[in-house]
Every structure is written in C-alpha cells, then in structure tokens.
C-alpha cells in the first residue's frame, strides 16, 4: 500500500470500511478453552452422579479434574497470548469476569467445605447438635454432620454468569442461549435431589461451554482453511 496515492472521498470511505472489517475478522476465539471446561465440568459432574447412583467411590474426587484443567488452561493462555497480535477493548473486561468467576468458584468450594464443620463446632459449644429424626420413629435419631443443602445448584447458578456476560459482550448467541438454559437448570435443580443436580450441572457445562466451544472451533478451522 502506498502513502502517496491521492484518495477520492469514496475511496477513503471504502478504505476505512475494509480496514475496519479486516481488524474485526482478524481475531477469532479458537474455542479450545470453552471445550476444555465444558468437557472437564461435564465429566466431573457425570462421574459424581455415577458415584451416588451406583453407590461406589472413585479413588479420587472427580472434581479434582479441575486442577488438571487449570494447568492446561494456563498453558493455552500463555500460548495464545504469544500468538495474538491484536488486543480488543473487551478482552480485559471479559478476562476480569472469568478471573472473578474462578475466585468465586473457589470461594464457594471453601464455603461448602468449611461452613458445615464450623457450624457443628459452634453448635457443640452452645451445647446442642444437629440430629436426623425419622418421621413415624421408624429408626432411632442419628447425630447429623451439617451440610449445605443442594449445594451444586449454586455452582450451576455461577456457571451461567460469566457465560452470559461473554455471550452478550461478544454477541455470541450460542453462549447466551447456553447461559439462559443454565439458569433454567438452576431453577429445576432447586427442586431436585443432589444426584439430579449433578446431571443438570453436566448439562449446563455442555450447553454453556462445550457446544459453543465446538461452534467456535469449527468457525476458526473453517476460516483458517479458507486463508491457506
């Protein structure tokens, strides 16, 4: 492109339009992160469901798969940051939302693990305990370790939040639809037992991340092949 060429007004407008389009078309989400998290959360939720349904225990907590996913995510993020030659205005905001989401998930995990034990200790200090009482006295009362009821519903609620923000900001309809479905699954999970909450959580991960991720990946590969 030469800087010397004298432009007419029409040519100037055409140049502006084509360059803005080029800038827009230059940045594509590869979809890998969305697929990674969709698969991880869906598998962890399904394995947890199977533990309850089939009444057996894996040698590890299926949700520990998240640690493996975090390692992969760090590797993907570092690799992509090296390849990206353009930064968009919304990138920082979206990254901040996902970081906040990650911290919130960790906070919720800490809450679920800490609060029941602390509640049991505090109640003991006050001289009382949680007791499981069977209606009609079919079994004798049992001392109960407190737990957060239907806690997985809260995770489903959290899954929807960053997904909806990303979907609206990037005008990416599959993520908006996924987030809305996750909110529906959250409402349903308020009325179901934990094992079904886990199934709904797996579904939420599939609609929020796995399906949008696959759509993004296919778009990216199609564009890359067209450019070759």
């Amino acid at each position: 492109m030469s800087n010397e060429k004298k432009l007419t007004e029409q040519e100037s407008l055409q140049l502006i339009t084509s360059m803005i389009q080029k800038a827009k078309a230059s940045y594509h989400d590869k979809g890998i992160s969305a697929i990674l998290w969709g698969v991880t959360i869906a598998i962890a939720s399904l394995l947890s469901y199977l533990q309850i349904e089939l009444n057996f225990d894996f040698p590890f907590d299926p949700f520990l798969l998240i640690i493996v996913a975090i390692v992969f995510q760090i590797y993907i993020s570092v690799k992509e940051s090296k390849l990206n030659k353009v930064t968009k205005h919304e990138d920082a905001a979206i990254n901040a939302v996902w970081l906040t989401y990650g911290i919130s998930i960790l906070g919720l995990v800490a809450y679920i693990n800490i609060v029941p034990n602390v509640s049991a200790q505090l109640s003991k200090q006050e001289g009382w305990e949680f007791v499981k009482h069977y209606i009609n006295n079919t079994k004798p009362d049992e001392i109960l370790s407190p737990f957060v009821l239907s806690s997985y519903s809260l995770f489903i609620l959290l899954y929807a939040f960053p997904t909806l923000v990303t979907g609206i900001t990037k005008k990416f309809v599959p993520m908006i639809v996924g987030a809305i479905l996750a909110y529906v699954f959250f409402i349903i999970s308020c009325f179901t037992a934990l094992k079904f909450d886990l199934l709904l959580g797996a579904l939420a991960a599939i609609v929020c991340w796995l399906i949008p991720g696959i759509i993004l990946r296919r778009k990216f590969l199609k564009l890359r092949n067209n450019n070759v």
Partner: protein, 97 residues
C-alpha cells in the same frame, strides 16, 4: 462550505492504519504491516508521522528476547478520525444532492 480534510489522515497508508486501530485496543506492528500490505520501511515512516501528530501511541518492548512494537490510537486520534469521517460524509452528501 466544505470542511477541509485532515492532511495527516488523507493519505492511503496513514488512513488504513488509523482505520485498523480505531476498533481495537492495540495491535502489533507486524499485524498492521500484514493487513495494509505495506513495506516495513514505509509503514515505520507513516506510523512516526501519526505518532508526531499525537494520533497514535507507539510502545516498543521486548517479548521472548525479540523486539515488539505495538500501536494504539489516542483520544486525539479518535477525535481526528471522527472529524475526518464527518467531513467525508459532508462531501459525499453534497455529491449525491
């Protein structure tokens, strides 16, 4: 009365650079070179002119031991670009009448 078109922007390569940068936060020099099909030397000269006018900011740093130049549009650059587009619209509107 026609508004005069900004001579800094009314040049093919400089306008292309500004149009690329207007919708994004920042872009690497290699990206701008690739999208404008300009030579590195010519692009460097035009980027310097835009920088001297206060329309863009140029950051030079090192990434993995390689020099990395990134460009971003300034507030003054955005205002000048908007003014330029308005002036263009004025010309085109008059032409169609």
């Amino acid at each position: 009365m026609f508004k005069e078109l900004d001579p800094i922007l009314h040049s093919q390569l400089r306008l292309a650079v500004m149009s690329l940068l207007i919708g994004i936060k920042e872009a690497e020099f290699t990206f701008i070179k690739e999208k404008t099909n300009a030579t590195a030397g010519n692009l460097s000269v035009q980027i310097q002119k835009l920088k001297d006018a206060g329309y863009i900011e140029v950051n030079k740093q090192f990434k993995d031991n390689y020099p990395l130049t990134t460009c971003s549009i300034t507030k003054k650059g955005i205002e000048a670009f908007e003014k330029y587009v308005k002036a263009l619209q004025g010309y085109l509107h008059t032409d169609t009448n």
